[in-house]
């Protein structure tokens, strides 16, 4: 029997120590994961206290309240319109990380449209229902509550599309319009409409619509970044992140709770969007889009408009967003570093919030592109 020499003994001890260290780090990560998973977090609702001032079907119109529980009525009202296929609370994510909260803290009377989760019967909801129904009644309700004839509207993603269409149809009720990562050029390749196209959305039936399951909507988003969104990639990513402090992990958890919590979508709305605005049809750019029986004329959009794109946006590619200058030539175009979600609620979102408050307050354009 060979006896190990002193050098081999030392090698073995080093290897053993390395293994023990690996095991200690793994255990620490699992303990961190356990702590994060078992600590009640902030998710699923907005961070800022709010009152429901109007309900219709699944929609709730929220009015943000100040520290004393009272609505702010100093500066003109601002209505946030998020995308109906995701949860509203991305606009009001965390204390200190809330776009809507920041705008409210600047003295504006802030409202958020929470479209809620559609039920089976809502598969019949079309573009007209959202634009001329829900969005228009939200604006009317805000006007009725505050006595203003025109209010500010901030639309995010598909919520921006609804806001733009609404503003063209009812320009007298919109004081200033902010469009966040709102794609207008359906022919710019990439982004959700193209992925949906590749995944067979063209087959969505307008006349006999289905409620498109959340898992299917989620799969389109996942297709935008193949690999990074695979289970293996995500688990590996999460394992790396477990080195972060629990507070940071809780922030990540809140963001993940928005990213991964998509809602089902009305098939009729998707079919109509695809048919009118999607690749080939491109109704926003071609000026052919209709809402119900009404032809939309973007020459009516005479109010100041700020359109914001994100350099690394895979959901609404920046080129398709910035194309708004073709249909609304006076729109201020702002392109920010970051992605679709990061510019709104990420760690560097303050740049967008600050510019939005300046813009809503009538501030001078910086004309950053």
């Amino acid at each position: 029997m060979n006896e190990a020499g002193p050098e081999q003994e030392r090698d073995r001890e080093r290897e053993l120590e390395a293994l023990l260290e690996l095991s200690r780090r793994g255990r620490a990560k699992l303990e961190r994961l356990h702590e994060v998973l078992t600590t009640p977090g902030h998710y699923g609702t907005g961070a800022t206290p709010a009152a429901v001032v109007y309900r219709e079907n699944k929609l709730k119109l929220l009015r943000l309240l100040d520290e004393t529980g009272q609505p702010r009525d100093g500066r003109p009202p601002v209505l946030f319109v998020p995308a109906p296929v995701s949860r509203y609370f991305i606009m009001d994510l965390l204390p200190g990380r809330s776009f809507a909260g920041y705008v409210a803290a600047a003295g504006f009377d802030v409202y958020i449209a929470d479209f809620g989760t559609p039920g089976r019967e809502d598969r019949f909801a079309d573009l007209e229902y959202y634009v001329e129904g829900l969005v228009r009644r939200c604006v009317r309700t805000v006007c009725a509550l505050t006595g203003h004839e025109a209010i500010n509207v901030v639309g995010y993603c598909l919520g921006g599309t609804l806001s733009l269409l609404y503003s063209a149809l009812h320009p007298e009720t919109v004081r200033r319009l902010v469009l966040l990562t709102t794609s207008v050029d359906g022919d710019v390749e990439g982004g959700i409409p193209w992925v949906a196209h590749r995944m067979g959305l063209a087959g969505e039936d307008y006349d006999n619509p289905r409620l498109v399951p959340a898992a299917e909507v989620k799969s389109w988003f996942e297709m935008l970044a193949p690999g990074s969104n695979s289970t293996l990639g995500r688990v590996s990513d999460l394992w790396d992140r477990l080195d972060d402090a629990p507070d940071r992990l809780r922030e990540i958890r809140t963001m993940a709770s928005w990213v991964d919590d998509v809602v089902a979508a009305p098939g009729r709305l998707l079919a109509e969007l695809y048919r009118k605005l999607g690749p080939g049809a491109n109704g926003l750019m071609k000026g052919t889009v209709t809402v119900g029986a009404q032809r939309v004329d973007f020459a009516e959009v005479a109010m100041p408009v700020l359109s914001v794109s994100a350099e690394k946006d895979t959901i609404a590619p920046a080129a398709g967003v910035d194309a708004v200058r073709s249909i609304v030539p006076h729109a201020e175009i702002l392109r920010l570093p970051g992605g679709h979600v990061g510019i709104v609620a990420g760690r560097s979102a303050a740049a967008l919030w600050k510019r939005t408050v300046e813009f809503l307050g009538g501030g001078v354009s910086t004309r950053e592109t």
Partner: protein
Amino acid sequence: MDSMVKNDDFLVHLGNALRGSLLAGKAYPTQPPPSASAPETPSDDRLDQILFAVRRLEGEVHDLKLTLAELKGERKQVPKKPRPPRPKEPQ
């Protein structure tokens, strides 16, 4: 450990984490198995259409209420014409 295994919420969180997600409050969205979705019958479809039509009507009723409130507000804003002086009664 035993209590964790019996805690449904924790198991949902753990299931999400095993998918690489920290989604809180609910399970990661997945397609239900094909057997879970019952085929839709025409009567289901008609009921849903009726329900959605009722939802639309509720919105339209709210529109009418808002219009009425606006009309009331406008009426209040119309300045009242000063009453003409009463003719003096003969004494």
